[in-house]
Symmetry: D3
Subunit: 277 residues, 6 copies
């Protein structure tokens, strides 16, 4: 029986076999994130992680205007509740808040199903925090991207800074956009490798994301999920430790029925069928 | 009262509010670096780090011909003073010399104010060592870049090799330029992400650098300096440790008056005013 | 007296001074790798590492069709020999097999002479595992590249995943190609930095590789080999540790006769002559 | 209003100001851990982490016989549910189970209030997994300790192995006890540094733990919690990174009212009063 | 059919089921190591690693006088062959030599069967290099231990320094013995945790080693080998990465027939029988 | 010509060949550290690092009462100068202050000559910060040790926490003393490995320190300094990286005249003479 997903201001649907679409659904507020929405996106990825019907995920934002305009400043207190010395505010309020936000976003990494983010329109602040924790980023030609946090007086702290330095090549560019908070577009994002494809508009981008998700969902889920986990481990470790982790992982994972199934399908030019995972 | 900067063969000026320009001033020798000049650039960044009037820095070279032609080989002994066995030369002379050069260059990272390097003309050897330790690199269309050390019989040891692998994406390209010492130009540097912008000539490049520095200087200095530090920490650590450092840092830094000031300015469409830092 | 190289299905030649060419020589099977061929390529790099006549290496595949089509599945058992519980298969068969394959490929890194890979035609699976462990990658305009493993039901485990995240900049692209196993071409490989140059066909690509190898071979071998080692160390360590390793290494390496030789040649506009290494 | 703690098979009490006592309460089964009990201990530490009335924690087991005899094998499936290939069992069942157990135990580290474990009687398997994640370990003279997992056919995987190598000095001893699963006593545990004190019986050990917890609870909570976090960070990082983290943390934490309060109390020989945290 | 072991100056025997004894057999030279003997000990551990009849290993030295007096200086050239500049000697001779020695010793770690070293009499230099790479160290009451290298003008470079800091707790003591090269005895070694047991003489120590090896050999080899590997991985990584590696490893290893066998044996008070590994 | 050492509140003398004694000389204030004294101790170690007449160092405190009572709270502002928001105080005042103190203490590690600390009487706070950065710690039987910082409302931030976890074995004990700030004595310090020897009183302890320093000073300085550097590098890196660093270092350092000198002296039973370093 399929799982149900009830989370405020999100739609989760399965438009095609094995592919989940997570839509941020607060278009009237440019999909701005309330604290609760941040925690919920973590719960959604967490649930999808163990949903056998899900093999790949597309993340999108409702409406035409924005993937997300970022954090909803009116509903988020970054200052603490007051009445304490600043060390207490630091330790008992702000740090736990930041850790909980970071932890929610990190669920995108922990979920072994690949996540494709489709950014359109305003994609500020949390848009970068969130999508840099996903696997593949594509966008529309009219996207307006920005690591916006400096403009409201803070360094980005829900992941953008710690992840951008790992997922794009040019540190000169990363420091430029992070220190200036300037808005940049699809061409620049593509050239710098932040996104790996650009499409005319949201409709085409979503179609492309679904197609890619469908392709991934048609592969052996053992192979795909192992690949995501090993890539994520490797980016954070010396090469030799990445290799050692790979050997530990794959000496178990190679014992799957998917390999003979895939090889047989390849020889007989048929479509392989892989059991759920 | 503004600080004064008196360092041989450097000019330090403040052409606009919050922006320091550091000029390597040895044009008659193509701005080649003597050992003393290397130590001095470290002292300059060190002083700027605590100069409240400085919020962003532009690094340039005097004259039309060169940002810097590299190390001044006539004034630098890479061989030790002689009369010792090679282990003694290694431990008591060459290693301390290298560490002192590396340490000077690393001050560019330790200074939390963003540094924009403007490379023009000959930009060899030390040019790469030094600018890879700065934050943002731009250049002129006629720049001649080279990791030149192999041509004089040594591996680059003042930072180029250890930093290039972190600040540009393509290891194939890094190894090509570092093993061949070949000269490459602005287009290639831009395509590979070594620089993030190219301008027609030095005048335009400097103007662009000043404009970008001015933009950064207009932002909250708490936000900007926190951003630089967290990016530098993150590039050297696994993502989860970058996040943990970010949480420790920002749970203190969020308690700044700059956030309400920035938010208020944003809502009222006014220009925020941030206290010195 | 020159060393001899006798390895099944490889040709090793020295077409020009200081340059070795290693040719995968199993064109009738699209240069597909048997387990023995994987172990042998490690031995070849290992032997070249200490061959004084070798200063740079070009790696190519025989025939017009393929650099290599990947692992020869008919001759490789990824399933274990059977008759054991899955933990025993994991620990006593698959893990040692994977470690031995990984170790062979890693010899490309341990050999301090730069290796230039020339990919043409089909370059699948092992092609990526192997060339990502070499230093410089170039290809022909008709190359067909793929991290193909997912298509046969497994995550790449001979190095592609652990190395791709370090040698190209865009994680979005890496995850796209690794999770989808899709075939991509020369333009995309160049744009993403997987290769640093593209040539019309195999003949031109080989010529270019030989020229670059010849250029590198003409430099101080102390300088070149030190550069490779320091780059490889630095990519796996924080910048400050890369610098500390560099200082340890170079305080010994700077005591070479190559530096005065190189400097003298530079001043007198003559060609330097460097002793073997 | 004090928080309430309702968790199956645990008692949480506050016998003295600022000190929580967590008692594993399943004496009729030698306090053996069911999967649910593992998850709950994580939730308890998690709740205590933000409970202002808690400044230090004592962890103990009910009854005379055992701190805990380890995992309750009858209620824990380590084999997976069957009906899948072994790779699927690995990825979709066993790994998530292990991660959830590890995560629960790790909450002892994430909670910034120091935890003192009091081990008595049988203290096998989970006893080591759990207490090695706490801060201070003491025991009774009759304690029977064992890293017992090898005796049931597996390597300890809820933390004992990864933590023992960090919290005691002698690797020879760690490998001895972990590979042999032999039972050892209080003297050996004390000599090797696994525990830092031994008491005659449970009553005396609990009294000593409460006294130490009370002492810690009387100190500045800003100081104590900062100390725990910095020690935990430092054990996992190079010294220089531990120092850098310390500087980031303390440059915020030093701005506490506790320092003047502590200094004043010291000068006036009075008892300082620190606000809650 | 049992494997055979023919290595100059070593005896390898199997005095009891599952236990291999490796004896350094050059008593007339105090078991001093020639370069060939260093390489051979690596090959022996390598062969034992895949020998199904071996589940635990005891390492000892022939004769009454010495486990080993260290490197045989008469047969080892630490100076290079001469006729080269010092950088060439460094890169082409000494570094490869050191790497080959280190690699041989490291095979003790890579072999997943626990190795118990029994040191008696003179145990200098290589004795520490070698045994610190093994798992459990015991010694006789008359042992004479020394990190002797400083006395012949060099820092220990075959592993003692890099491993001592990980396998004993007191850095003050490590630096004392390493910088002074002083000889110390069994009591000190035991108190500092370098050895985990001391016996009256070689006969008793060997008997104890065989007994412990026999005990380990009676356990599930899946459990024992997994334990060694996870401990070795964990000592070199942050706790959270040790845990992640453990989860990857054990989610495969838990699918062994040894767990039900061990549990059944425990319930029925019978002796479990574990298949070879 | 011998160097001179003029630093306020320190005496530096050379009572025997190759041995420097650094005495903290503020007995009337229990050798409490002012900020200037912290910076100066860094400068002293820095100068000794390149003083050829110094091969080993003894660190002691003047007077009978104390090695040092810790930071002089009356002369140190831990609160910032006021008049700023807390983020500005953090970034522009407290963090630079902490970094400068940490950097001074770290000079004890960077100086390659072994430093022996002799603690007597009150040895609180800075005593631990400072001596944990030195190499060998010994003490008198009446020493009163304490990580005292928690008692004045802060976590130790000049190195004690980041170093204690690396230099002693028992984490349980480290957390006990750091969270409770309790005073402990010589026996406990010895048992836990914080010190490696205890002597009756200051006179005997100093004599022993001088004797050990003299022994170290009589060894090859190439060997001794290489040993210290490799140990310090290794404690902060995985074993394999420690080995790789060792190979880089020693392939240069082995080319010293000290090895033949030491070997010859050993064979001829004479005293070797090593050139200065």
């Amino acid at each position: 029986m399929p799982q149900t997903y009830n989370y405020d201001q999100y739609n989760v649907s399965f438009p095609q076999d094995g592919v989940a679409v997570v839509e941020i659904n607060r278009a009237d507020a440019m999909n701005a994130f309330t604290p609760n929405m941040i925690l919920n996106i973590g719960k959604i990825f967490n649930q999808l992680a163990t949903d056998e019907d899900c093999r790949a995920i597309v993340l999108t934002g409702a409406g035409d205007k924005a993937f997300t305009a970022g954090l909803d400043l009116k509903q988020t207190s970054l200052a603490g509740s007051g009445g304490k010395d600043s060390a207490r505010t630091m330790i008992s309020e702000l740090r736990p808040l930041l850790l909980s936000f970071q932890n929610a976003v990190t669920q995108a990494e922990k979920c072994l199903k690949p996540i494709i983010s489709v950014m359109h329109g305003y994609s500020f602040g949390m848009a970068i925090d969130l999508t840099t924790a996903t696997d593949i980023r594509i966008c529309t030609s009219d996207v307006k991207l920005s690591v916006k946090e400096v403009d409201i007086g803070l360094a980005a702290d829900v992941g953008s800074l710690s992840r951008l330095v790992k997922i794009v090549g040019s540190m000169s560019w990363v420091k430029d956009i992070c220190c200036s908070a300037r808005i940049f577009g699809a061409d620049e994002a593509l050239r710098q490798g932040l996104v790996s494809a650009v499409y005319k508009d949201k409709k085409e981008a979503l179609a492309a994301a679904l197609k890619l998700a469908g392709l991934i969902a048609s592969k052996s889920p053992v192979a795909v999920q192992s690949t995501k986990e090993i890539l994520n481990y490797s980016v954070d470790h010396p090469i030799e430790h990445g290799l050692r982790y790979t050997a530990a992982w794959n000496s178990g994972a190679l014992q799957t029925a998917d390999i003979p199934e895939a090889v047989k399908a390849s020889l007989t030019k048929t479509t392989p069928r892989f059991a759920k995972l």
